[in-house]
């Protein structure tokens, strides 16, 4: 039972080192084997949580508070599955991408830094979702960021380097703010283990200051408005498979930590006002990101600004899931499940959209909106995948986003916080506006532009698979919700 939890971190980490050292073809073989085995471990973790409930592993046999434990509950298991599915799809997509981008090469091998960094990011994300220790979270969050930035600058050129540098400065500051918060918590309560922190904390000014510092750091890393300025250029200038990883998974690491801290670890110490304030920033992010997405002329920048807006949605979950003590626990639980559902659904849809945008940029040598007119006849499968991904992003049924928004709206009405109903509805309309702005052009036939382009099938199929997964995620609501509830902090909270 305990084995898969450790293996899901160890396997990709070992794979990263081996595929860096292995010569030629063996690098590819090692990386594929490691990624496949990691996915197997993630599935085993999920099966274990599904049948036996949350699992805790004390590394090296040392129990907290002295040792560092890994912990897998339903939330962690779902995040592991999400990471595995998307990382695998991105890995396959990348083979097609690099083969096409560097004409006459065999794909992965020539972009030799890609495979080890891809696995390193895989390992760091898994470790993040399994960590049960405030300081350990700091270390793995930094690993996630460093691997992500190293992948970003693989694109080369001054745009990617500038974006990477800006991202690194913001992320470095963010991680230090988080570390300062952790230092304050340890200084006052002498514990770092999340479960012990939850039991030991009491609401004091110092607790609030520590939580504020940690949250500020995480907000920068999650690119919540007004700390989002680094994200659009970074996500837009990365190579296509890396854009998908950064937007679908890397920002989710920080969002996941905010959810853990606010709804679980610090849940008892949060005032109503603080939750509302975080939600307000989320609402501002929705509006700002959507408006920018409506103004942009380049497809990758539109998709990147959409991430700023969607991260806003995830922060709107905070006031609904914390509720400030006066709300009904069932409504808070709905908001929390909705938030997790939104993370999953957005990750799948956004990875698909960035893959499509990358394929378009590669094949048309431009991703300007003017140039994607008539896309549906020239690259039908990619246009179709973009459409499906877009629909899943907006939240039309039966997509996962639909279930997420349904739960969030119900929770907002049940708690009589009607202003969040307005925010969610307006945000949904805005996302509809910027998605259909792209689709309208892509599906308008242009006379003279009706020859099908040669597009690597691998890239189109991966994007379509993720888009369809996002669309049909809503149909498996019962299973996903049951897994979310396994060890759900709010399910057992008083």
């Amino acid at each position: 039972m305990s084995a898969p939890v450790e293996w899901s971190v160890l396997l990709p980490l070992a794979g990263a080192a081996l595929s860096y050292l292995a010569p030629g073809r063996w690098a590819v073989v090692t990386a594929v084997a490691a990624a496949t085995a990691t996915t197997g471990a993630a599935v085993l973790v999920a099966i274990g949580v599904w049948s036996d409930g949350p699992a805790s592993v004390a590394l090296g046999g040392w129990q907290p508070p002295l040792g560092i434990a890994l912990y897998a509950d339903g939330l962690s298991a779902l995040m592991l599955l999400m990471t595995a599915v998307i990382m695998l799809a991105i890995g396959i997509y990348a083979a097609g991408y690099f083969r096409h981008a560097q004409e006459g090469t065999s794909g992965w091998r020539e972009s030799d830094a890609f495979l080890p960094l891809w696995l390193l990011l895989f390992a760091a994300l898994n470790a993040l979702f399994l960590s049960r220790d405030l300081f350990n979270l700091y270390v793995v969050l930094e690993l996630v960021t460093l691997a992500g930035i190293a992948l970003l600058v693989l694109a080369g050129g001054s745009a990617a380097l500038t974006a990477g540098m800006r991202y690194l400065l913001a992320a470095f500051l963010a991680s230090l703010l988080y570390l300062l918060g952790v230092a304050l918590v340890y200084g006052e309560y002498h514990v770092l283990d999340l479960h012990l922190v939850r039991q030991t904390l009491d609401p004091s000014r110092l607790t609030w200051l520590a939580l504020a510092l940690m949250t500020a750091g995480l907000m920068i890393k999650a690119a919540l408005f007004p700390f989002h300025a680094w994200l659009p250029p970074a996500h837009a200038s990365a190579p296509a498979p890396v854009s998908a990883m950064l937007s679908a998974l890397v920002v989710k690491g920080a969002v996941y930590m905010v959810l853990r801290l606010w709804t679980d670890v610090f849940a008892g110490d949060i005032s109503m006002l603080a939750g509302q304030l975080v939600g307000f920033l989320g609402a501002a992010g929705i509006v700002w990101g959507s408006l920018q997405a409506l103004r942009e002329e380049r497809l990758k920048l539109i998709v990147a600004h959409s991430t700023v807006a969607q991260v806003g949605f995830l922060f709107v979950v905070v006031p609904l899931a914390t509720g400030g003590g006066m709300a009904d626990a069932a409504w808070r639980n709905d908001a929390w499940s909705g938030g997790v559902y939104h993370i999953l659904s957005h990750a799948l849809a956004k990875a698909a959209l960035f893959m499509c945008a990358g394929t378009i940029l590669l094949c048309l040598a431009s991703d300007r909106l003017d140039d994607i007119r008539g896309l549906a006849t020239r690259m039908p499968l990619t246009a179709f995948a973009f459409g499906i991904g877009g629909i899943a992003l907006i939240g039309l049924p039966p997509s996962g986003t639909f279930v997420a928004k349904w739960l969030l709206l119900g929770s907002a009405m049940g708690q009589q916080q009607w202003w969040w109903v307005v925010v969610i509805a307006a945000g949904t309309l805005l996302s509809g506006a910027y998605v259909f702005r792209v689709l309208r052009l892509a599906f308008t036939p242009v006379p003279g532009l009706d020859t099908r382009l040669r597009v690597p099938a691998l890239m189109e199929v991966c994007a379509l698979a993720l888009a369809l997964a996002a669309l049909f995620l809503g149909l498996r609501g019962v299973e996903v919700l049951r897994l979310i509830e396994a060890g759900a902090p709010l399910g057992v909270a008083p």
Partner: protein
């Protein structure tokens, strides 16, 4: 005022200085150094925290955190320096475009 207070106060002063430097400097090297200074101030705070009980033996856990934190900071700094150097080679600029005065940014 004993050693604990002295370390704590120094940490806060260093933290404020480094934040000021980070937000007001444009030069990339200066900003990276400011971040390292900020890291050091937090490490100093942790060292002070280890001695918070004024006991003969300090708490070893913050020391372990400082050691790990140094490793993380060194890795991030290394990446930042490599990026900054590549950026200078590629663009000839030692700062991010938005931090430059107008006429220089367009040149």
């Amino acid at each position: 005022m004993d050693l604990f207070d002295l370390y704590g106060v120094t940490a806060v002063v260093l933290l404020s200085l480094s934040l000021y430097a980070f937000f007001y400097a444009a030069n990339l090297l200066r900003r990276v150094i400011a971040l390292n200074m900020m890291g050091s101030s937090i490490f100093l705070l942790l060292v002070a925290i280890a001695y918070r009980n004024r006991a003969a033996e300090p708490d070893p856990v913050p020391h372990a955190m400082v050691l790990t934190g140094i490793v993380v900071a060194v890795s991030a700094t290394a990446l930042a320096l490599v990026l900054a150097r590549r950026l200078v080679q590629e663009t000839g600029l030692e700062a991010l475009p938005e931090d430059l005065p107008e006429e220089e940014g367009e040149a």
